[in-house]
């Protein structure tokens, strides 16, 4: 048991889980996205299929995986393939519905920076870099971002385009010829942002007790509130029970 009320990580996991549909094929890493997928599988979307970027499909881990290469992801999985194969046969081929991405910055048009703060050649802060996120952002049908809502994480424009969102908005993404539909939601500890028709992120929902002013204060551009901006349903008892008792009993990620 972690605590009585839900915390911000639980709030984000639950809201991310609710975005998944039954039968989605999801490209996933460890941590919060992994918890969200496994929560969705145990609630409304039992037929989700998980592909871990290390090339493992249909894992049944006997413990909570702590890294993308955790051996418990492999023992009892349904298939394992090479890194080239997982990126080509699954991702580039168009066999993946959903991806999860993170990064140090996400901007007004959903572009993500996981590479560098400052100048690329003379970095102020050197971040880990793309990994597979350049490809995931371009080739999955839709992707989600889960991130704490802080002004430095939400600049008007990212310092470096590691992963494509809607670029400068409008049909800019489409014109590049990439296959996927881009970011469909950003789940934060304050609420949900979603792109409008122009690809600009707007505040689509607030978590219970959060005000739109809080969202604006923590966002680096004048963010708009959707006309139909909703209040999210709080995590329910069953969701919290699964998270705390089944998925992450030692509170490593929640």
């Amino acid at each position: 048991m972690c605590e009585n009320e839900y915390n911000q990580n639980e709030l984000m996991v639950v809201n991310a889980a609710r975005l998944l549909r039954d039968h989605d094929v999801v490209f996933v890493g460890v941590g919060i996205p992994n918890l969200a997928c496994n929560l969705a599988m145990r609630t409304h979307a039992p037929n989700i299929q998980l592909i871990y970027e290390a090339g493992v499909i249909g894992s049944q881990p006997s413990r909570l995986p702590l890294s993308i290469g955790d051996p418990s992801l492999v023992s009892g999985a349904s298939s394992v393939c090479s890194m080239y194969d997982v990126f080509s046969l699954y991702l580039q081929r168009g066999n993946v519905d959903v991806g999860f991405l993170g990064g140090a910055q996400i901007d007004r048009f959903g572009n993500i920076n996981a590479t560098v703060i400052g100048d690329y050649q003379h970095p102020k802060v050197r971040l880990p870099g793309s990994g597979g996120s350049m490809e995931i952002a371009a080739w999955v049908n839709r992707y989600f971002v889960i991130t704490p809502h802080q002004k430095r994480r939400f600049p008007a424009r990212v310092d470096f385009h590691t992963s494509i969102g809607f670029l400068t908005g409008g049909d800019a993404r489409q014109r590049t010829g990439v296959r996927g539909g881009g970011p469909k939601a950003v789940v934060t500890n304050l609420g949900l942002l979603e792109p409008d028709q122009d690809g600009e992120l707007v505040c689509q929902a607030l978590h219970p007790g959060v005000t739109f002013d809080q969202v604006q204060e923590n966002t680096g551009w004048p963010i708009r509130q959707a006309d139909n901006c909703a209040i999210t349903l709080p995590p329910n008892a069953e969701e919290l029970r699964i998270l705390r008792e089944v998925l992450d009993p030692k509170c490593i990620y929640i």
Partner: protein
């Protein structure tokens, strides 16, 4: 969710007049039972793609199912010619599109990988390139030299045979691997036939052996002895006698017609076919036992190493 159905149902559901069909398997695991069911169902105008057409496409062409052939080696392996195919091409009845093995398989590689083309090094033999406009050239931007490229092959439907699969289509394959995996990923629809349908625990005991994931499979059919007169490694041997006999049978269209009457039209399914072959053939083709040594994947359910 189970995708189990009879082969007859799977063919009816997934193979249509005019489709581009790839029945996969390089000399091994050739799904003859699926071809026979297609013949029985009278499906027409199929474009048949296979690196090595083998007897399976000689039969489909002779039965009048095909409009066009895409191939890279049109021989009866170890015997000689594929007479019905050869006659149909020499007479102009059958369209064809020809590759070398690597250019053919590179087309599947592009299709399976979601790439708009695959490059290959030049071979200097340009006569085939001149006859087949699908071959193109691209300049290597690093050296300025030209490479040959081929476009993706994306079949409408692929048939893949496996030794064992679970009911959702996760399949273990061993022995000669041919182009099975690429064909399955390249295709719009996949029919998987298997010698054995096993509990998913068998598949999950060795995930590295799962070359066809259920994710890409549309139908799973339990069809023992599906690949005779080709073979299934560890299950039964290649029937070289029939490959030799085919050289005689296929000398005339009538010869093939009467073979098809006896072995396809007059039989309901593969079980009847295998039974008709009789115990002497069963014995002759039996595979002995030569087991792989197991590997340990490890049981990591012990949580000790997670208290960090």
């Amino acid at each position: 969710m189970t995708k189990l159905m009879t082969l007859s149902e799977a063919i009816q559901l997934h193979v249509h007049d005019g489709d581009l069909l790839y029945a996969s398997g390089f000399t091994h695991l050739i799904p003859f039972a699926a071809a026979h069911e297609i013949i029985r169902q009278g499906i027409k105008d199929i474009t048949l793609a296979r690196a090595t057409p083998d007897l399976i496409y000689d039969q489909l062409v002779a039965a009048g199912c095909a409009r066009k052939l895409i191939f890279s080696y049109m021989g009866n392996p170890g015997v000689g010619s594929l007479r019905r195919l050869r006659a149909a091409i020499e007479s102009g009845e059958l369209e064809w599109e020809e590759y070398s093995h690597f250019s053919m398989i590179s087309r599947l590689k592009a299709g399976a990988s979601g790439l708009p083309f695959m490059p290959m090094k030049q071979t200097g033999a340009v006569d085939l390139e001149a006859q087949n406009p699908a071959f193109k050239r691209v300049m290597d931007p690093y050296t300025g030299e030209e490479v040959v490229v081929v476009p993706p092959l994306k079949p409408d439907v692929v048939v893949v045979h496996a030794q064992r699969a679970d009911s959702t289509g996760n399949a273990h394959i061993w022995g000669i691997l041919g182009e099975q995996r690429l064909a399955a990923f390249a295709s719009r629809r996949v029919i998987l036939t298997a010698e054995e349908i096993v509990d998913e625990e068998v598949i999950r005991s060795d995930p590295n052996r799962t070359l066809i994931p259920g994710l890409v499979v549309d139908a799973v059919c339990h069809v023992p002895y599906c690949t005779h007169p080709s073979y299934t490694q560890g299950y039964y041997d290649r029937d070289n006698e029939l490959y030799l006999a085919w050289d005689q049978i296929s000398k005339t269209q009538e010869g093939v017609q009467s073979y098809l009457e006896e072995w396809v039209y007059d039989l309901p399914d593969r079980a009847a076919y295998w039974e008709k072959l009789g115990p002497e053939v069963h014995r002759r083709l039996s595979a002995g036992t030569f087991l792989s040594q197991p590997v340990n994947y490890g049981d990591y359910s012990n949580q000790d190493n997670h208290d960090v």
